[in-house]
Symmetry: C2
Subunit: 333 residues, 2 copies
DNA sequence: TTGTATGCGTTATCAG
DNA sequence: CTGATAACGCATACAA
């Protein structure tokens, strides 16, 4: 069942059939109707492979992420896919894990599939050392590279980021202003985004007139129990803190559980702020004040930018989205 | 940069280059090496579009789900993608939402992309009325249809399901055996899976020697606050219950919040069991006893089955996975 | 408005 | 072991 069959049945050439398929206006209404009828009658569907070969594109975007089951990434993927499909593009999903070599390997793989662009979802794709990002600059010579919550300067590389520094700065400052004297910052890694957040925390501590203390900046694996135990250990070791600011909601949940266990009242004895405004922040009692980093905005912006890029339009290399602090029960402001 | 360029540089025919690419053994070691060297030197990558056209397959599977940001579905997608990629297949993601028409539309869309098979993820794809599933039977004439946690009999349709009936039956019975007299069943819809669960609940109530009462089977939207308020309303209306069995963890979280609000002690005054054993079940205090329905097993089984199907192997149309009750703090057994 | 002819980059079937 | 050549199904430049 191909374009030839249709052309025969409709008594026209394949060129005309092709024109009908592609909505070319240079077809008389009469023949157009006849061809459409035949197509329906035969149940004809154009062969995308043949079309792709000629046009050298399949209208497909590669979406890379470390782990699509991570709540934030899952939500991002949801919006990206929806938005891309709305623009007539398919999405090939590719979960790369967190290892640099595999990220690189999968990027190559997607590239060999001739996708029209690649979206790197999440802040884990930008490494601290510039040389570790060279492969992205290299790839961007062939196709547009879109960064969701990550930033890198380069030709054909487009970043849409949430202003994490400002968000954490603001959150920390509010804690101090509400009477807290010792805000512990709990974070889960050294990604681009995490480094920004940490720097926001540092600046806030200084601007609030306090000392930045190493023992109050705590690295911890992205796990509820780990966070809880970490805080417990720190407290027992004699370090005092009356607020926890976390780089992820799950760590903030850990903080709530720690408070429960230690018999602390929230927010009186311990204030807590999470990050991402995910469903997790609503599962605890009290519910967790959390930074909403606007996944949906970031993703729709990314896709809109990409569409403009693919239409050869001129677009900025970086767009910044402003986060918002959602106040709930773990803070007293 | 194509196979002709390589053939010229290597002084062989394109047939030989093609043989090298595809690992055909009928090539002398010497020429193979020469060709490989040239390919590397030129940075040649085979054009997947041309290859697809010839072979009439792109080694790509369509993954449909209602909403990839739903935690259970997100996890399923993660495992499916990983497993498929391990077998050399790409995954095209397609979020269809919950409306029958759009599900149908997107199925057709994926079909027109000539994917090698379609995986329907989640129990929302099987409708109660047989006629509403006819389109799946129709599609299955062209390609394998895999159901993840849904069941439908038909040629080229393969189901991998969790025994939800048994899981809920078992959970409810344990509640009664632990001294509960009035177990409220809270559920969020009438999908295939939900109907199975409900029937498991009913059977357990009877087998425990109690009456099945309509007011204890409560339909509620899949939302934390909705669940909490629903329970509150029911309780105020004079209906007594000392246990809540939920069809989703999020509803169980709502039950925990209800207990907090109503001043009930968990599990003494109110026992709670959730479903899915998701991260949500660990966020509350106490943590929620929940049914683990083995997402990973279901997904790897699905992909393994699919691979056998694509190799023309003989495989069963239905595989059942046994769930497991994970005991935590919201029950006293 | 319609038709003819050609190219897109492979794979696979033959013949050597 | 290697090479020539015909599909694969479509889009499009050019001709009519």
């Amino acid at each position: 069942m191909n374009i030839y069959d249709v052309s025969e049945h409709a008594h026209v050439s394949i060129a005309t059939v092709s024109r009908v398929i592609n909505g070319n206006p240079n077809v008389s209404e009469k023949t157009r109707k006849r061809v459409l009828d035949v197509m329906k009658e035969l149940g004809y569907t154009p062969n995308v492979f043949a079309r792709s070969l000629g046009l050298n594109t399949m209208k497909t975007i590669g979406i890379m992420c470390a782990d699509s089951s991570d709540p934030w990434l899952a939500e991002a993927i949801y919006y990206l896919e929806k938005e891309l499909r709305g623009n007539g593009y398919d999405s090939i999903l590719c979960c790369t894990g967190y290892l640099p070599e595999t990220k690189k390997k999968y990027l190559e793989l997607l590239r060999s599939k001739r996708v029209d662009a690649i979206i790197l979802t999440g802040s884990h794709y930008i490494e601290a050392k510039p040389k570790d990002n060279v492969y992205l600059l290299e790839a961007a010579k062939d196709l547009p590279i879109m960064l969701v919550n990550g930033q890198l300067d380069g030709e054909q590389i487009y970043s849409t980021v949430c202003d994490d520094h400002a968000a954490v700065y603001d959150a920390a400052l509010r804690l101090y202003r509400s009477g807290r004297s010792s805000v512990l910052y709990l974070y889960s890694g050294n990604s681009f985004s995490n480094l920004n957040k940490l720097s926001g925390y540092r600046d806030a501590v200084r601007d609030a007139g306090f000392m930045v203390r190493d023992e109050l900046m705590v690295l911890c694996s992205k796990d509820l129990d780990a966070a809880m135990e970490r805080l417990d250990t720190i407290s027992r070791s004699g370090v005092y803190f009356d607020a926890v600011l976390a780089s992820e909601d799950i760590l903030a949940v850990g903080a709530v559980k720690y408070a429960d266990k230690a018999g602390l009242t929230i927010p009186k004895d311990l204030s807590i702020i999470g990050y991402n405004n995910s469903i997790l922040s609503k599962c605890t009692t009290p519910e967790i004040t959390s930074v909403d980093n606007k996944v949906e905005s970031i993703c729709t912006t990314t896709v809109n930018t990409l569409m403009k890029v693919l239409e050869e339009g001129n677009v900025p290399g970086k767009t910044t989205i402003t986060p918002e602090l959602i106040k709930r029960g773990t803070t007293n402001f």
